[in-house]
């Protein structure tokens, strides 16, 4: 069965640095990959979507890469701020419509 892995350990970085989060997957060929942000006690909020034929996507301070050979996506936040502290989830969708598979998320702590 498909497996999606995100680093379960929290990522602690200093304000102003670039945060890089990893999403690895196995036994799956996703058509789309999405990144969501989840704050404590709240539902996930969509950040970025990248398609299988795209290598990179950017939105303001956010950048996502998608390497279907390595079966990996990297999520970067440049010039990180304490307000970026949250849990970040990756989600994969295959060619079977409507079926999303989520990773367990990585908690990011940005220290002032």
């Amino acid at each position: 069965s498909q497996k999606i892995e995100q680093n379960s350990e929290a990522l602690n970085i200093q304000e102003g640095k670039t945060a890089t989060l990893t999403c690895n997957y196995t036994n799956y060929s996703p058509a789309y990959l999405q990144w969501y942000r989840q704050d404590p006690g709240r539902g996930p909020v969509f950040l970025l979507l990248i398609r299988e034929n795209e290598k990179e996507k950017r939105k303001e301070r956010l950048k996502v890469t998608f390497d279907t050979t390595l079966k990996q996506s990297l999520f970067h936040i440049t010039a990180s701020q304490p307000a970026d502290s949250a849990t970040y989830l990756c989600a994969l969708e295959g060619y079977n419509f409507n079926k999303f598979y989520f990773g367990s998320g990585t908690k990011l702590n940005v220290k002032p």
Binding site: P44, F46, L89, E93, F97, N98, Y101, F102
Partner: protein, 113 residues
Amino acid sequence: DTAVSQTPKYLVTQMGNDKSIKCEQNLGHDTMYWYKQDSKKFLKIMFSYNNKELIINETVPNRFSPKSPDKAHLNLHINSLELGDSAVYFCASEVAGGRETQYFGPGTRLLVL
């Protein structure tokens, strides 16, 4: 106006009881979902409805019965609650048919004692 709302926000109940969670979206979306997020934070799809029609049922015990009275509402009824049902249940909606952003509700925190 809240895009995707859920009620109740918290639900504490005894094992064996039956309970319902309600979800409403005012985004005009055709597709709605129920997800379960366990203590390890895995968000797992349970059901998906498209325009009131069930299209995904992910090996969920038949104690869980979703119902969509119209495309703006998706309710979840749970019979004979068990300890392992304790989790946060999220409703989400999407324009239609996948390939799009999902909009999540605030979650319903269910605790079965």
